[in-house]
């Protein structure tokens, strides 16, 4: 089962996604696929805050800022679930974080291939993404390319997903309804 959860900054999407996976993956090992790369104090605080939020929820954390499918190598065989947070970081890392700049299209294809591989092995797969599309600012070319890449990943994932939820002020608004909630 694939669940896509979207929302803006500070919308409460992470904490909702964590309780969601907790509720639907009873008895399975839960992996947390962390994609954020830490460059500064701000990033460190953010990671720390998320770790604090996850504490005691029984996640096994895998740091995977690139090539998301490689997380599989660090998972045990058998039934399992995973929470990927967040698609906006993963997309930025794939495009801008390596030694060569990767095009938005190539990054999106690569990510979706990786997600496909993970999905085959996971009983429950929750992906958190970010709504970065509504601030009305016309950004320069490379940021627009990034936004288009993330938007295309989001739309493809939403089409594949059983459930799509937008979190607004901590409240889940169902965009696509599947088996659960």
């Amino acid at each position: 089962m694939l669940i896509l959860i979207t929302g803006g900054s500070g919308s409460g999407k992470s904490s909702y996604a964590e309780s969601y996976i907790d509720a639907v993956s009873k008895g399975m090992p839960k992996y947390y696929l962390a994609t954020m790369q830490v460059f500064d104090e701000d990033g460190r605080r953010k990671v720390e805050r998320h770790r604090e939020l996850r504490k005691g929820k029984g996640f096994v954390t895998i740091e995977q800022p690139f090539s998301i499918e490689e997380a599989l190598e660090r998972m045990k065989p058998g039934r399992k679930s995973a929470l990927l947070e967040c698609m906006s970081n993963l997309t930025a890392n794939e495009m801008f974080g390596g030694s060569v700049r990767v095009s938005g299209k190539q990054a999106a294809d690569q990510i979706l291939q990786g997600i496909g591989k993970l999905q085959k092995e996971l009983e429950v797969f929750v992906i958190v993404t970010n709504n970065v599309f509504e601030d009305g600012i016309l950004y320069e070319k490379s940021t627009r390319e990034y936004m288009e890449a993330l938007a295309s990943v989001n739309s493809t994932l939403a089409a594949m997903a059983d459930v799509v939820i937008e979190v607004v002020a901590g409240i889940p608004v169902v965009l696509k309804k599947g088996e659960y909630r």
């Binding site: 803006g8 500070g10 701000d42 509504e134 009305g136 002020a169 901590g170 409240i171």
Partner: protein, 137 residues
């Protein structure tokens, strides 16, 4: 407390005035009530508590407090506790590219989180898009 959120210029205030049958005299613009309402009328004078207070542009008030280095979260919590009938209207500002500027980033994060908290405690949460109210709680 009721919380009304949505994007810029989506008709949030109009929605509130129409749906809760309130007049402009109940509305406070970008500030918490400290004296008389912005669009004060004679009838509204000294009758605070008769009709609920509407705090419009909550996000502007919140941002100004942040810029002044204050902690607006504590202030609004206390206000809502003392005024459980109030209606808070705020823009949603988190649905964009994460800004490079630290204050801008902090504004989006902290406004988002206080809205999550206010929504948790609200009896009703409405998101207004194109003038239409979508009751999400």
């Amino acid at each position: 407390m009721k919380l009304i959120i949505g994007g810029y210029a989506q008709g949030k205030l109009k929605y509130v005035l129409q749906n809760y049958c309130l007049g402009a005299d109940s509305v406070w613009e970008g500030t918490l009530p400290t004296g008389k309402p912005a669009a004060e009328t004679l009838a509204g004078e000294d009758e605070a508590g008769v009709s609920p207070v509407v705090i419009n542009r909550f996000h502007i008030w919140f941002r100004e407090r942040l810029e002044a280095g204050e902690a607006p979260e504590a202030v609004i919590r206390e206000y809502v506790t003392g005024n459980p009938d109030c209606i808070i209207i705020s823009d949603e500002v988190g649905n964009g590219i994460v800004p490079v500027d630290a204050l801008e980033r902090e504004y989006r994060e902290r406004l988002g989180r206080i809205l999550v908290e206010l929504a948790q405690n609200a009896e009703e949460v409405v998101r207004v898009i194109c003038g239409l109210g979508q009751k999400i709680k």
